[in-house]
Symmetry: C2
Subunit: 457 residues, 2 copies
């Protein structure tokens, strides 16, 4: 141990630690999964990361990379001990290249900071997870994050042009180029996107950026039942309309929002869909009109909001995940079964199944999420001091995961597999497909030192 | 040989052949690279493909998959003999699912046929290579094809949701789901996209489709020099405008088009950029106005076209590659150095370099292509009977490839590496990155039977 600490100090000076206090700060993410690392290292350059990995490879020390720790799947929890690589110190925006519509960043850059830097140029980085204000680009790439606007703009996968990656043995590779398209060899860039730190450590990324739309408008449609709301969404997409966001907030979610902000201009009852459209003034008016028209057939009420009213609704929407404690302060939200996704057509069926599951188990649930791309966030909350409630929660989460898979869907749309969902991956993808993932893992990380155990690999 | 033919006949009946006549039909694609296969097999189902691969794996027979043979990189040329797997017989559109905005197709479906089938629903499959009328979806996936509208809509990579793939040993795997987004394990779907048949044989694909735009408008801007045209493109993108196509046609290309159709409404002199914008009536008018305004600063002339005039210009544009023989019937276009791409900002520099190279070597060249995503097609044409002209051509192509790499670009934007560009891949991506590609190839195809030699793997 002391010998390894010495070697680490040679590489990063005082940015390595084995003190219990520091190690305790790096036990996990925003899920309930924890593990105690043996070392914490905060590198500041690619060459430091490379030297650290060469050392860990030689000594067979596990390496778990960590961004802001906002993950929800235990992805950066060092469950096999070893070394946590805190990448948040590599947080420089290296280049803003408007003419090429791209930026080069280090992995520790916080997403919102990137957007603040791009705003004066009239550009933005479209993926917008709920944790936008805290999460790092490196974490977003590692979990293929998305968020509300992905329904129009796509996930992180669509925005990574190139990567610098340090492999398990310390070799530094570069994938992709500064070009917007290329057909030259295997798409290693996208192999690393979503690989959860199990194939290499991302030390730099070239990202595509997009022009900020001139105008945004919000359509609030309120329905008697979430299932009917789901049908309206299908109808809108079938008509060839692509909103820039399409979110569902069920009645429980509305209650929570009202408790947080009694003045918020949202309906009192029912389940609502928020459609956002963006573009030019005229095109947004046109699309907003079409959406209203379709919703009016089945909705209780439809309303168009813009400007400050729209902003306040979005702020509230972003707080939903955290605000849930207002409903019952004795209960805590547990992130399990919270990120399933299905084909759009199956959304009404998924909503119905989730309702049945939570009602039968008598477990409070809030349903919200990115219904436009089939991603339903189910917030289950329990009194964590009562073991029986934990049992019900685990059962509910398991049934929700299985319901999504039965409907041809995925156990995770944007939060990742990590440890929380590792047991479902072989089932979802099939054992043969899973074995291909394993053979790729073995090819790139033969000693299995990179984030071991995650995704079941 | 006879024994293998017997086994093949057991699998596919009379859809296997070893006759010299049939084998001759399968020697290559639209490039100059040829090879003679030992067998030709035309499977009709996944299970047939699986059985064929199990046989080939056991007997160590090379397998080269082939779609329509429209490739330009020698990708389906069986240069190591073995078996050509003609996938064009697996050409069923299995499902059109408008509510989920996706289709399921077999790999032999011709792209234009898919679009014809989607048109009544108001949808389309956006990637549009020049060979749209002939090329197959399987080929498009294997080379990550794109085309004119990729500048707005993205390449094939963005449209493949899931794949059925037969691995070298005959195992059948499924990647992805019917969901629009998923963060569940390695992105094997995109690993197969662009892998040129070296990792597995695609037997089925789930594709995302997009709503057809209501309106399209075309802006023709004519410039004194191609370099100035390139600057105007950069200016438009920096202003946050995303055209649905952005094509350059240099003065030689214009001459060719005029020879083909003297009535075509295009300028007589200069280099032109065709900008297409699509969307609603109002948004296209707005964008067309903005583009015209920016171009007017440096252009000789700017004009907006729509309807039949626009259609006739696009038809002519699509014929460019083939029409080149009109300029000089003794010369043939050779597809080498024809698909380079650079960051948008470097387009003027690339155009200048290409001009210098072709002028110095005194080799006729037509420059056209998807300038909006940095992809310049250089059409070099020579008298193929004169060896000296071949030498000049090879030198010109080599210099063009190196010029693109020096500008941070790619030797192939959309045609693929195949054999034509295999020598450049390690140089472009770096030897360490190339070795990662090799280790993935070894992991999935340990005996190297799948399309051997392609991409240098």
């Amino acid at each position: 141990m002391t010998e390894i600490m010495q070697e680490l100090e040679e590489i990063v000076g005082d940015r390595a630690s084995a003190s219990p206090g520091e190690r305790c700060c790096y036990t996990g993410d925003a899920s309930q999964i924890v593990g105690m690392p043996d070392f914490v290292v905060r590198p500041q350059s690619t060459s430091q990361v490379s030297r650290i990995l060469r050392l860990c490879s030689k000594k067979l020390i596990s390496v778990t990379a960590r961004g802001a720790g906002t993950g929800l799947a235990g992805g950066c929890s060092p469950v096999k001990g070893g070394l946590v690589l805190d990448m948040s110190g590599m947080n420089r925006i290296l280049e803003i290249d408007i003419e090429n519509q791209q930026v080069i960043v280090e992995p520790g850059v916080v997403a919102e900071k990137l957007n603040s830097a791009l705003k004066p140029y009239g550009f933005f980085f479209p993926p917008d997870p709920g944790s936008l204000a805290m999460c790092t680009i490196g974490g977003m790439i590692s979990y293929n994050s998305s968020g509300m606007r992905c329904v129009k703009y796509g996930t992180v996968r669509n925005y990574v042009l190139n990567l610098e990656v340090v492999l398990a043995d310390g070799r530094v590779i570069h994938t992709g180029k500064k070009v917007l398209k290329s057909s030259a060899g295997y798409d290693l860039t996208r192999l690393f996107v979503g690989s959860e730190g199990t194939l290499g450590i991302i030390t730099q990324a070239g990202l595509k950026i997009a022009p900020l739309p001139n105008t945004r408008k919000l359509i609030l449609a309120c329905f008697d039942e979430a299932e009917i709301a789901g049908q309206a969404v299908i109808e809108i997409f079938s008509n060839g309309i692509t909103p820039s966001a399409c979110e569902i907030l069920d009645r429980t979610t509305l209650q929570v929002l009202k408790l947080c902000d009694p003045l918020l201009a949202i309906p009192e009852e029912g389940d609502i869909i928020l459609f956002e459209v963006d573009g030019t003034e005229s095109s947004t008016s046109e699309a907003a009109g079409q959406i209203s028209e379709i919703c009016q057939i089945t909705a209780k009420s439809v309303r168009i909001a813009s400007g400050r009213e729209m902003d306040s609704i979005w702020v509230a929407r972003r707080l939903v995940g955290a605000a849930i404690s207002r409903l019952d302060p004795t209960k805590t939200r547990i992130y399990m079964g919270e990120d399933v996704g299905v084909p759009i057509k199956e959304i009404p069926a998924l909503i119905k199944k989730v309702q049945q599951i939570t009602t039968k188990l008598d477990i409070p649930a809030m349903k919200y999420g990115h219904i436009g791309d089939g991603n339903l966030h189910v917030a289950l909350f329990i009194d964590v001091m009562i073991e029986e409630q934990w049992q019900k929660l685990r059962l509910a989460a398991d049934r929700i995961h299985r319901a999504a898979m039965e409907l041809g869907g995925t156990v995770s749309s944007e939060h990742g597999i990590g440890l929380v969902r590792a047991q479902y991956l072989p089932e979802q993808v099939g054992t043969e497909t899973f074995s291909v993932m394993q053979s790729i893992k073995n090819a790139l990380d033969p000693h299995g030192i990179l984030n071991p155990g995650k995704m079941g690999l």
